[in-house]
Subunit: 211 residues, 2 copies
DNA sequence: GCGCATATCCCCAGATTGTGGCAGAAAAAA
DNA sequence: TTTTTTCTGCCACAATCTGGGGATATGCGC
């Protein structure tokens, strides 16, 4: 039996959801609310396994509610159910701690399946949402691209140690070469990365995934 | 009619897939290969809408194949079908350009559904995979967590500039405060982050998303 | 008021880094 | 073989950074 709480400001839609979920064997609706005010209280009284959350609600933003809920009860799975499909909101909701993201045009059977899936540790998303989430991931992951600045092998090694936070001396010890040699490599690295200090080099390396 | 090409080195599994997909109305298998050697040729002769790709194959890695295919024919949707569920491989496959990622224990009906979904612009993933992909996304997008070391507002600002690669002097200019003040803040930052140099601070800040 | 945290400045001594130049040995490419 | 690249090492000077002292002022809470 999966215990579900619903947060959705549209009364009609909320009732419909409640009827659908509550009327299906294996599911029970333990709470149904029009806003996330006094969220903790509502959660503790309904004690759900899964929370269905709308994004736009009066009083408090659904995404903020997700963040709070994440902290208050990390084990509760959160399923966003909303009409918004802009990248920004998807991203913020997922990063806030939602485990699934469905559009409101999702069919009842898909919705029920998704509730089960999210309670079992999955991450159900509407196809369009999943594709956008994937796009976000690809944007971040880009490419581990050390070749762009064509650092030599040794230079890459030195840079790697630098990124670990080591000083020139420590790097020398780590790589079993002279302190001065490390400094020589550093010069080349600065040249190739177009930077002028260790900090800049580390910053660039980490930002652009050069290690 | 969805045209599907299969790349999978296990002959039995490949044949089974071929039978399943080819035997279902609405789907046709236009190519079935044991390795991705001469990938471009195989693709142009089979002209698929969707490619099903294994990760481990003789000759060439499936992930590398995805990258090449992405460039050669960007409109072809790629569905990974493999046994691996480590974050690294998932991440690399998705970033290389795969649009879906299924585990080999996926049921035939789910598989067929996923092929349709990916061809329609979705991003089907096995629940466990989806959850891991979500985790990756959250890791990247996680909002700055400076609170852990409770840096003050000013210290956070200084750290932010440091991460940009600026020197103490430059930070002083940027924040319109004295060089010595910057140094004072830096001392506190070092103290709180348990580091002893700019490089270390930048490294820690970027790794732990303190900015 | 009194403590406490924050933010702002200062000085010093010693260590580290940035910059410039130089050069031999080994490896790879021509 | 000759040339080029990479890896190695060194010196010197100026600039910057680190770690140790303090000092003043402004709020905020008790």
């Amino acid at each position: 039996m999966i215990r579900v709480s619903i947060f959705e400001d549209n009364t009609q839609f909320r009732e419909a959801l409640s009827l659908l979920i509550g009327g299906t064997p294996g599911y029970s609706v333990t709470g149904s609310y029009g806003d996330p005010v006094n969220l903790e209280e509502k959660i503790s009284e309904s004690d759900p396994d899964v929370v269905i959350m709308d994004i736009s609600m009066p009083g408090r933003d659904g995404i903020a509610a997700v963040e709070i809920l994440r902290k208050y009860a990390p084990d509760i799975q959160i399923l966003m159910l909303t009409v918004f499909e802009d990248e920004d909101r998807i991203f913020r909701a997922l990063c806030a701690g939602a485990s699934g993201y469905l559009l409101k045009n999702t069919s009842p059977s898909k919705l029920l399946e998704s509730i089960r899936e999210v309670s079992e540790g999955g991450a159900p998303m509407s196809p369009a949402i999943a594709r956008k989430a994937l796009g976000l991931l690809q944007k971040f992951g880009g490419k581990p691209d050390a070749s762009a600045y064509d650092l030599t092998l040794r230079e890459t090694e030195v840079l790697a140690q630098l990124v670990r936070g080591l000083s020139s001396k420590m790097i020398a010890a780590e790589l079993n070469i002279s302190y001065e040699t490390v400094r020589s490599h550093l010069k080349s690295i600065y040249d190739k990365l177009h930077v002028a200090s260790m900090t800049e080099a580390v910053s660039k390396a980490l930002r652009e995934n050069l290690i």
